[in-house]
Structures are given as C-alpha cells and as structure tokens.
Symmetry: C2
Subunit: 478 residues, 2 copies
C-alpha cells in the first residue's frame, strides 16, 4: 500500500490503526486510487451522451442569505428604483427548475448543529458522521465519496473553493481523515491518492516542503503527476487541458470579495472566474463528463463575524451559480462541439451561519449602508487603528461605509477602540437594520436549488445524506 | 347604494369620500355583493368537475419556523431517539408537490418590511399596497379579491383564523378599508356585503350592538341572513350545511395553543378542527367547489413576543395544513360521493416575525426546554406574579418549564420581577438555544408549498402579488 497519507501528530496511534485498516479495505475494493482504465472505457451506462454534475455550496447560506442577495443586487442595480425593482432581479438560484429543503444536523451525540466537515461528509458520501469528520465513519473508516465514485467511473473531477484548498468542505469530497484539522494529511491525500483533475483554492503552506513537518514537496509531486501549478488569476489564462493545481494564497483563505476588490495588488481570481476555468478544463479531461464542486466558502466566515461583508460574498457565490446554470443551458447540449450533454446543477448550503435576520426591531432597513461597506469590518477596524488622527479616522470611516455623521463622542469612542466597528452591534449592522442571532452555525433547514438532469429528485424535503443518491443517479451510477 | 360599511372615526371625511367612490365603482361592476345567481349557474368553465382552493397562511412563519416545527415534532414523538428521528417526521408541508419562495415587501415608501395588511392585500388581490391597507389601493379604492372573484363565479367561500375575525389577514380577503384598525367597518362589510359562507375566528365585540359605536347588532343581522351563530367548539358539532358565523372569543384573539391546552375551561376549537368543519360546510354549499383561507394567526404574535410558545402554534398550523393536504388527496377526487374534484392547497407565510434563529452562539440546542414550556411566557409571568412565596414560584416555574435548578439568587430576581421570564433573553430561550433578531416582522423570503391542481405554478420565486393569478387559474377563472 504505497499510496497513503502522511502521518499526523493529531491522530492517536490506536485510532490511526483503525483508520488505516479501513482505508486499506476501501483501497482494496478499488474505491480509491487511480482509475484511468475506467475513465477510458467509459462506464457511466450512457451511449455517447456526456453527463456533468456541478454542485455549488454557499457555505453558511440560507433562505435569508438568498433574500439578502436579491435585495442587495436590486439596490446595486438601481438604488432609486429600490425596492420595487427587486422583482426584476434574476439570481442564479432563480434558474432552478426544482426547489427543495434539507436538514443539516450531524450524527453526533455531542451537538445538534453541524460543522462543515460533518455536513460535507453527509452530502459527499450519503452517510452522516460526527462533527469534524472528513468522510470517515464513527470508527474512522473512510467512506467512498461521490467524487471518488465519479472518478472511478471515468468522469473528470474538480474542487473549487475560496477557502483553504484543504478546508473541510472540499476535503470531504476527496480525502478521508478523522479530524478536519489534519490539513497536512488532506493535502497529501489530494496529491498522492486522489484522481482529482482540478484543484483551485487557497493556502500553499500545506503543500510546501518548507512548511510541512514531513518536508514533502507536494507541489513538486503534483507537477510530476502532470498538474499545472498556478498561483495567480493571470496564471489561469495559460492553462491547457492538463490537470490543474491552483493555490492562490500563501496561507489561509482567499481574501473576502470586498477586500479583494479594494486591493489593487490582490491576484486571486473570483469564484465565477474559477468556475468557468474549471469547467473548461474538465470538459476536455473526459469524454464521459465531469463532477465539479464549487464552494463559496467565506460566506460562513463573514457570518461568524456577523459582518455585512457576507452579502457581497453571497452575491459572488450566486454569480458562480449563474455560470453553472448558463453552462447547463436548456438541457439540449452546450453547443460546445462536444456532443449532447446532460448537466445537473445543484446549489445547496451545508448549514446556516450567523443567524442572519433582515430587520432589527424595526419595520425598515437601510440598504445603502450595506451597499456602501467596501471593506470587511475586520479590515476596516485595522485601517481605523492605523488612522493618525480623529479626522483621518472619520475620513477612513466615510470612505468605507458612507457614514459621515458620527458625533464627536462616537468618533472618540471609535478612536479609543476601533474594534467597535466590528460585530453584531456595529454601526453598519444597526443602521442597516441587520441582526444576527449567533456567532456560530444554526440548525435551520437550507433550500436546495436544482436544474437539469435528475433535478426533480431534489424537490421536497431531504436529509443532507440523501443528496449523494441524487448526484449518483445524475451521473448514471445508480 | 344601500350595502355600505358603517362610518368610522378613524377615517377622515376626505379620505372616506374617495374610498366610497371607489367602493361604489367596484360594486357597480358587480365585483362586490350577492352572487347567488352566478353560484347557481356555475361559471367556472368546468363541466361538472369541482374545484377547490385551500390557502393556508402561517402568519409570521418562515423556513426556520418550518424547521423548528420539524424538530419539535420529532422531539415530542420520541425524545430518546432525537435527533436521528427527525428524518422520520412527515409534516403537512412535506406533502407539497412544489416548493417555491416569495418576496414579501409592500409597495410603501415609508417602510421596507410589510405588515399583515399589505401582505394579505397583495396575496388576495394581486396588487401590492401600503402597510395597513386592507385590499384598497393607494387612493383608497377597493381592489377585488380572490375570494370575491370565487364567490362571484359561484364558489362557496370561507375564512378561518385563530386571530380576531376582523384581523388584517382574513379581512383582506373579504373587506376593503383604508386602515386595518377599522375593525368595526370590517365586521359590517363581512355581514352586510360579503357573500362569505363560513366565518370562524375570534372576538365577538365588533359584532355586538352593545360594543359597537353604531349600535348595530351584526350577530342578529347575520342570523337574519341565514348564518348559524357559534360560540364554542361544541357548537361546531350541530352545524348543518347552512352558512356559519363562529366567533369563539369574547374579545381579542384565540388563546395560544399552549394556553388553551392548559386551560380546562377553554371552549375554543383548534385550527385543524375548524379547518375540517369549514371544509364540510363549504363542500355542501356549492356544486362548483370552494375557496377557503385558513390562518394560523398567532404564530406572529408569539414571534413578536420572542416566545418559544410560537413553536406549538406553528405545529398546530401544520396540522391544519395536514387536514388540507389529506383532503386534497391524490387528485383523483375525495371519495366523498360528490364526484371528481381538483383541490389546490397552497401554504405560504405572509412574512416572518421575530427573526427566529435555531442556535444561540453555540453548536447545541436543548429541545427539552422548548417541549416542556406549557404556557406562554406572558401567562407564566402572570402566574409567577401570583405565586405566594418563593417556593410556590419555584414550583410554578418547574410545572411549566421543567426548570428546577435555578439558584436562590435567580429565584429571588424572578420573584422581584416575574416579567424576566419573558422575552428574547428569557431563561427558556437561553437554555434552549433559541435566539431572536427582532421584535417585529423581517424581510426574509418565505417558502411556498403547493399540492394539487396548478401546484406547478407555485414553484420558483414569486412576488406576493403573483399568488393571486395562480389561485385564480386553479379555480378556472383565468
């Protein structure tokens, strides 16, 4: 068994033994590992018709997030026609043919509300597990994922996210570890064991020899295995139809959408751009079709921070959904010269984050404050911290929130404690009329939006571990 | 123009003139008033096939409320199997064939978030109006409602609610006033102008000569017009197929579901019982079919109070939805000996109330506290107020919340201020892990659930004023 993940200090020896035995069993069954032969032979049960599945996950989204995206889009389109122009907005999600709903709770006696690991595990494998799990069961045994099923059957596969590449949601589709914190292991499994054709996400550190405890140069190994390695948005332009490993930040996640837009030197691609690029590569990688996961991963982080910057993040995710919906077209084929194709697009959050509420003890909201916030509150706090005087602080505040009428006292308070610009009771949240009920995830059912082949499956109410079977069917694997 | 509403101190003379002119125009067009001839002739464009529409409105509900109902039902079914048994729950809403979503904002420059008047006006008439409006436009002109359209075309019609009969939501289907506060006018229009076959709701005061400024005995008038008058749940048992005016409280709304269950002397019927009774009468009232509105009206009130007693209220509403879904059956007819019937059931909230969040800065929730709260917090506060000693207070608290471990200090605080048991930060909310973002309505899009004839119309995203056309089509009126 040469293809194995690296060792990890986070896993106890006993647990590890169980896990490895499980992994061995699965590898023995042919569920893991290279599948070039399957890909060449074409085993999806179709006769020449390509099948694609694009699963888009707004991490931490909800029905209320979708509403917020709709309102913000309308406000940005034409503030003077707001709110009457809300009805003119067509979001990516509005292109769905079927809408359903989904329960998100994990199989975890310790907590009712899921984390992204347990949620992605349930969706990717068809089996609920404990929080923190990355596609392993309660005994630490790996559970085959929809991406691995697809890859084994000859489909091209891709993982695209704005978080760290090794973060819980993408990881649960192509790696198996007992604890989501084992990011070094996840990187190792990606490069050495998975057959994923396209990786695009953040954080090179877990792939670099200098920063890994085991000194493995996973970027070099990936190159040896035929991956084109990318670091910037402009690198995307020279990609051919070979495999892709795109790691667009040195460490950590992508910058938030608002901060990226505010920073001329930021070289990270947006989620819609990555989605388009991934589709292009995947189309060329298999005659059968592809499975692609796209995650708007920082909606969740802005939700934890109770930051209105969550909304532009949600809108960016919706633009990626639009790319996928456009691609799925009318179901008659994409006109890309590759022949008839069935594409299923499913958009579903893994859980809600932040307990977002549109309204705050009032019957009005002021969307201009949301539209004018041009930095995350975290970064704004840091800019306010750097202000050299109270008038410089007032000017920075106005530049990034449009707020120019704080009293002397309020400005003095903010100067004394710039972090007051952050969090649930920030001036923007209060003025906009946005409330947040939690700094954690919440249990509300999330909507499912589906379009294309087998979309009807996703109507009605589902458990998160029901998703797998619908995706499998769309790929002709059930 | 003899059929007119009574005068109201709340409406200015000028406004009133405009309004009356509008009402006159509509009455002249035949849109208002008696329609017995139409009913006899049968004008729904069908040949012998009955058509019914049951519109159920959980006032103040949302996707999160639906989730909460699902979790509470599972917990009540078997606390020891919770949460794994959530997947076994089949709510009334789960019987829907199509799920959509709906924007709820009014056409009101003064505020973005709707009240129940503007929301019900939009749904009932197909036209958005200002907050507080009851099926009138910005000039105070009445707008024909779906119920009036149905009645004119020969359908039987009914209004069932747990609020005051003259409250905004039911009123907007069968009355036209400039301000929802004109409840005396609404009662008058119900009895003198509408052709509604079944009224079931709360608050007799607006119908009683002793309590009306104009001294009109509307209950007597209703009897003269052929209505059977009911005051208690047991009165429902003797109802024949004549018209019904059921007013089940002296003043105000029904008691909340939890308080009703705790009170042996309460004689108010539950919403599912009223729904069944109304269907029975309406079936007999027209060969064409019927239009029935059912409102779980106090979900909204508990939401304003940020009281977990909202959840049993939501569950009771869902049981009424189940009655409607059962009745709609499989679409092949109800087997009631009345011949083939198409029934459309649509369940949709008018707006969300309270900014309900399932989770409170934590990844866990404790549903036992929600399940064990057996009185509204308002009523519990009053019982605590009446407690004769701190130990009596502790015992009352335990009886109605299951909480038996408050410290001496906490008990002393509660004794000093029993109202601390109420509201957003009450001990039950905190312990359960329920958060609330607002004491008002919020702007989140609400889900639409539809089953039966023309249900497909309600998939996808809609404005609230789009509902009307779908209901009209289901009745063969479009």
């Amino acid at each position: 068994m040469s293809q194995t993940q690296d060792s990890s200090a986070e896993t106890s020896t006993t647990k590890r033994r169980t896990f490895m035995a499980g992994l061995g069993a699965l590898a023995g069954s042919g569920a893991l590992g290279q599948t070039t032969s399957a890909r060449e032979s074409g085993s999806n049960g179709t006769t020449g018709r390509r099948r694609n599945v694009i699963l888009t996950i707004p991490d931490g989204g909800s029905r209320t997030h979708d509403t917020a995206a709709r309102y913000l889009r309308a406000y940005e389109n034409d503030a003077s026609a707001f709110p009457a122009n809300i009805e003119d907005v067509e979001l990516g999600i509005d292109r769905a043919e079927y809408v359903g709903s989904m329960s998100t709770y994990p199989d975890d006696p310790e907590q009712l509300i899921t984390d992204s690991g347990a949620a992605a595990t349930a969706m990717a494998t068809g089996q609920k597990s404990y929080t923190g799990a990355i596609s392993v069961d309660h005994d630490g045994r790996p559970i085959e994922t929809i991406l691995e099923r697809a890859s084994d059957a000859g489909y091209a596969t891709g993982l695209v996210t704005t978080t760290q590449m090794t973060h819980a949601t993408p990881a649960a589709f192509a790696a198996h570890v007992e604890d989501r914190g084992q990011q070094a292991d996840i990187a190792c499994q990606y490069v050495r064991q998975s057959d994923v054709d396209v990786f695009m996400g953040g954080d090179r550190s877990h792939f670099r020899a200098e920063e890994r405890d085991d000194g493995a140069d996973l970027i070099g190994e990936a190159r040896d295995r035929g991956y084109q390695y990318l670091e910037t948005a402009s690198d995307l332009e020279s990609v051919d139809d070979g495999k892709v490993l795109g790691l667009f930040s040195e460490t950590g996640h992508f910058e938030y959408a608002v901060d990226r837009q505010a920073d001329d030197e930021n070289t990270q691609p947006g989620l819609p751009t990555m989605t388009e690029a991934a589709i292009d590569v995947l189309e060329a990688r298999s005659e059968q079709g592809f499975f692609l996961l796209v995650e708007g991963g920082r909606i969740d982080h802005a939700g934890h921070a109770n930051d209105p910057a969550m909304l532009p993040e949600q809108l960016e995710h919706d633009e990626a959904v639009e790319v996928a919906m456009d691609y799925a077209g009318d179901g008659s084929g994409q006109g890309n010269g590759r022949g008839p194709t069935d594409t299923l697009v499913v958009n579903v959050a893994d859980h809600e984050t932040g307990g977002l509420v549109l309204g705050r003890d009032s019957y009005d909201m002021n969307w201009e404050y949301i539209a004018e916030q041009s930095l995350t509150q975290e970064r704004l706090a840091s800019e306010l911290e750097d202000a050299s005087s109270q008038s410089a602080l007032a000017s920075t505040l106005e530049d990034h929130t449009g707020i120019d009428d704080l009293s002397e006292d309020d400005l003095a308070e903010l100067e004394a404690d710039p972090s007051a610009i952050e969090g649930r009771d920030s001036v923007v949240n209060r003025r906009a009329g946005l409330a947040w009920g939690s700094d954690a995830h919440t249990a509300t059912d999330v909507p499912i939006y589906a379009k294309g082949d087998n979309a009807a499956y996703f109507g009605g109410h589902h458990e998160n571990d029901d998703l797998f079977a619908g995706l499998e069917a769309a790929l002709g694997l059930r």
